[in-house]
Amino acid sequence: MRIKFPASRFAAALKHAVRLLLSIMPMIIAVIGLVGIFEVVVTPQMLKSLFSGSPLADTLIGTAAGGLSVGQPFLSYIIGGELLDDGISLYAVTAFILSFVTLGVVQLPLEAELFGLRFTAVRNLLALAFALIISVATVATLRLFS
């Protein structure tokens, strides 16, 4: 049995997709521009200088610093490894690694435009809270088994 490709339906769907992408293109380019600025302004040295040595304060700082950072995930592992070597707590490092990949301050405008302010606020607040919860749970579990 031959399946006929629905060319006209695909053309209409493609037209819709192009319109969608074009409509959000200014915001995508703006966010990419912001990524460039953050990559230059928020350096690993700057991030390291934020930590104080207090586990509680550092966990909060780690969450905020991770949310402000941009780049490939492995960068958070390298910075996290250096922070551990500098005596920063594993709670703070875990929170930093988690918020690095789950929170995106730079991407907030695009997320809000596509999903709405309420969805964006709820999702990011949950991600923020869970960065703290998971960092504590991970270190506690690790200590339980070690």
């Binding site: 819709h16 966010v31 990419i32 990949v101 999702r123 869970f130």
Partner: protein, 173 residues
């Protein structure tokens, strides 16, 4: 087709104008820093651009072949465990910048995919399979396994909470 797209608001253009203004200020204050930022942005665009074109075709193919009722059935309000498994596995297995997934997810949301599943998908993306060996080398296997498991559990819990908080669990059909 989606209910929430395309967008007609001007926030994107305003944001683009603001970012361009920030670049002008940086170039004025420190041209070398401005150049570095511009190169970094161009590098990101080079990576994201081709994937965005792929996403464009994915959205078109999805709207051509997949019946909206079928999406609602598998990922809508009545999807149950199957919906959670699809969202969590999708989050863990997909890679690349979140930016490129936004248009596709927004389109799916317009097809009655519940908010909790989108939230769960986003959080499950924190498990970066290609980077796990690097994480193991820095923090050890036990840390990597425990953190990855908690991320998936956290993604599911956040999805459930988001559904309750947003109250936008759509019904099938």
């Amino acid at each position: 087709m989606t209910k929430n797209t395309p967008h007609k608001n001007r926030s994107g253009r305003i944001m683009l104008f603001l970012v361009a203004a920030i670049y002008l200020v940086i170039f004025y204050l420190d041209p070398s820093k401005g150049e570095k930022a511009l190169f970094a942005a161009a590098g990101t665009l080079k990576i994201i651009g081709p994937v965005l074109i792929l996403v464009l075709f994915l959205i078109a193919l999805m709207n051509t072949w997949i019946d909206p009722k079928s999406i609602a059935k598998h990922m809508g309000g009545e999807s149950g465990a199957k919906g959670w498994i699809i969202a969590l596995a999708g989050g863990v297995l997909t890679h690349g910048s979140s930016l490129v997934w936004y248009p596709l997810l927004a389109d799916l949301r317009g097809h009655s995919v519940k908010d909790g599943l989108i939230v769960a998908f986003f959080y499950a993306r924190a498990v970066k399979i290609p980077w796990l060996p690097v994480m193991v080398s820095y923090f050890g296997l036990p840390f990597t396994v425990i953190l990855s498991l908690y991320i998936v559990l956290g993604a599911w819990l956040q999805g459930m909470l988001a559904d309750k908080m947003l109250g936008r669990v759509k019904r099938e059909g």
